[in-house]
């Protein structure tokens, strides 16, 4: 009898608190940014498609739907960490199968460069560029707007004559930055 009473009381309490919690979750619901928007904001917006999705937004949508978080090669470990934080999941190492070329290995940002004498003007790269950073017309030499290029490297593969290569942005005094570990010690002359 006592046992029964205890069960009943505990059950009753559980029910009351459950109802309370349920009510609270509805009543005090926090309207956060949609998770896709937040994820999209974390992604590097190179629109490179290396993750297997046609752009950053689609990948953000996919991650929100449970896709692996480690497919963004340009974002690298930093982005994975941020996504892991946001999604409350474990940090995973970058999925190497999604790394094309050497985008992920280089520290310095790269942009595409068209070797203009080899360009046949096929416009294939123009169609591949996700951010319209290539100008040119059919049969006309193409060129890349460096400021707009995200370095996604999507234009390299379609080029039939391999005249596009990824080049590092050279270091000048304008983009040079202090770096503790490599204070430059140069031998001149």
């Amino acid at each position: 009898m006592n046992i029964l009473l205890a069960i009943l009381v505990l059950g009753g309490i559980a029910a009351v608190f459950g109802a309370l919690l349920g009510y609270a979750s509805i009543r005090f619901k926090v309207d956060a940014d949609p998770i896709v928007e937040q994820l999209d904001a974390l992604l590097p917006q190179t629109q490179c498609g290396q993750c297997g999705y046609p752009g950053c937004k689609p990948y953000a949508q996919a991650v929100a739907d449970g896709e692996a978080i480690n497919k963004c090669a340009p974002g690298g470990e930093d982005t994975i960490k941020k996504i892991a934080d946001l999604m409350g999941v474990e940090v995973q190492p970058l999925d190497e199968s999604h790394v094309k070329g050497d985008v992920a290995q280089s520290n310095r940002p790269k942009v595409a460069f068209i070797i203009e004498e080899d360009c046949i003007g096929c416009t294939k790269c123009i169609q591949a560029c996700p951010v319209d950073a290539i100008i040119g017309a059919a049969k006309q030499m193409h060129t890349i707007i460096i400021d707009e290029c995200t370095g996604c490297d999507l234009c390299v593969a379609p080029c039939p004559v391999d005249c596009i290569e990824m080049r590092e942005i050279p270091e000048t005094i304008h983009n040079w930055q202090w770096d503790l570990n490599s204070i430059p010690v140069k031998q001149v002359n």
Partner: protein
């Protein structure tokens, strides 16, 4: 031709952390001397034991952590911790007390948190509190001043007492601590606490020989010694003045209020200043920069808080002295205090973070 390249500033005022530590160690000399003069060799033996333990344990942990050993071992911070533990311990407590206390302080409180600069608690005080909580009997083996002893406590006697529990002549620690009239003597703070608890007034209590002529026999000079050392550190700008000043002021104010309300149940302000570990705490322990507050305002708050806590523990708490506990509590609150006492940056309006 190429030149050597470095980042500015190229000049430095040549201060170094090990030098700072050495200075602090030097500044304890007057206090330690007074301790030796009034209480004999006990604390010096414990200081030695603690220092050896500190060096050995730090060496082992550093090699396990694969850190540059010479660099860290010689920065003096471990020695300072050991010194403070040795100073704080009751003089006749067994040798393993200081060894365990130092091991705990160095290995767990300091190194396991990441070594110098990363420990949230003052290692010496954390070690002391651990001992106080774990070994209450050994940690209350306070030795009365030499002048009140019936036993001649020379170096050999002290050493054997610490190592074996008995003097060369065979007296036990308890016998050593017993006065001529057969009463076990404790520290003035302890005596006061016990007597007040028994219903005596302060005036009646301080007739006890341990109080001596002024506030507390021996202890007042030890405190004066540490005060001297502390003032030396202040003139050398090795420690910030805010912490000791606000700490002492806070104790002064608290005890003054208590004393003016009820002089029978509350000892005088100067008694609070010159007994127990007040001066040691004010100048050598609370000023530990690693575990204290970093902003000036924060230091003032930490000092005042510590003073209040010390007073409360001494008058209301279960332990006769409260410096160690107060320090640990302040260590805990220091980051929070820092958070709320950030100075106003140049060009920013007040309140704008």
């Amino acid at each position: 031709m190429a030149f050597w390249i470095a980042s500015s500033p190229h000049n430095h005022n040549h201060t170094k952390t090990p030098n700072l530590m050495r200075l602090v160690i030097l500044a304890t000399i007057p206090g330690v001397f007074a301790q030796w003069y009034f209480f004999g060799w006990g604390n010096l033996i414990h200081i030695g034991l603690a220092m050896i333990t500190a060096l050995l344990s730090e060496f082992i942990v550093l090699s396990l952590r694969k850190k540059p050993i010479a660099h860290h071992l010689l920065d003096g911070s471990g020695l300072l911790t050991a010194l403070l533990i040795g100073i704080c311990l009751p003089a006749l407590t067994p040798w393993w007390i200081s060894v365990i206390g130092t091991l705990f302080a160095i290995v767990i409180v300091k190194q396991l948190y990441g070594g110098l600069g990363h420990n949230p608690f003052n290692p010496a005080m954390a070690g002391y509190v651990m001992l106080l909580v774990s070994f209450p009997i050994q940690m209350t083996l306070w030795q009365p001043p030499l002048s009140l002893l019936t036993v001649d406590l020379n170096f050999a006697n002290t050493l054997t007492t610490i190592l074996t529990g008995f003097t060369v002549e065979g007296y036990s620690v308890e016998q050593v601590r017993t006065s001529i009239d057969g009463i076990t003597m404790a520290t003035p703070l302890d005596t006061l606490k016990t007597n007040l608890g028994l219903g005596f007034t302060v005036l009646e209590t301080i007739t006890s020989p341990v109080f001596g002529e002024n506030f507390s026999l021996g202890w007042e000079w030890v405190n004066a010694g540490f005060l001297l050392g502390g003032l030396f550190l202040l003139t050398k700008k090795a420690i910030a003045w805010q912490t000791p000043v606000s700490f002492l002021l806070s104790i002064f104010v608290c005890s003054f209020i208590g004393y003016s309300i009820n002089p029978d149940a509350n000892p005088s302000t100067m008694f609070h200043w010159f007994s127990g570990a007040t001066m040691l705490g004010a100048f050598f322990i609370l000023t530990d920069p690693v575990t204290g507050a970093t902003s000036n305002k924060g230091r003032l708050i930490v000092g005042a808080l510590a003073g209040l806590l010390v007073y409360l523990i001494r008058t209301l708490g279960g332990y006769p002295d409260g410096v160690a506990f107060a320090v640990l509590l302040c260590n805990m609150s220091a980051p929070l205090i820092d958070q709320y006492t950030r100075p106003r940056t140049y060009g920013h309006a007040k309140g704008e973070k």
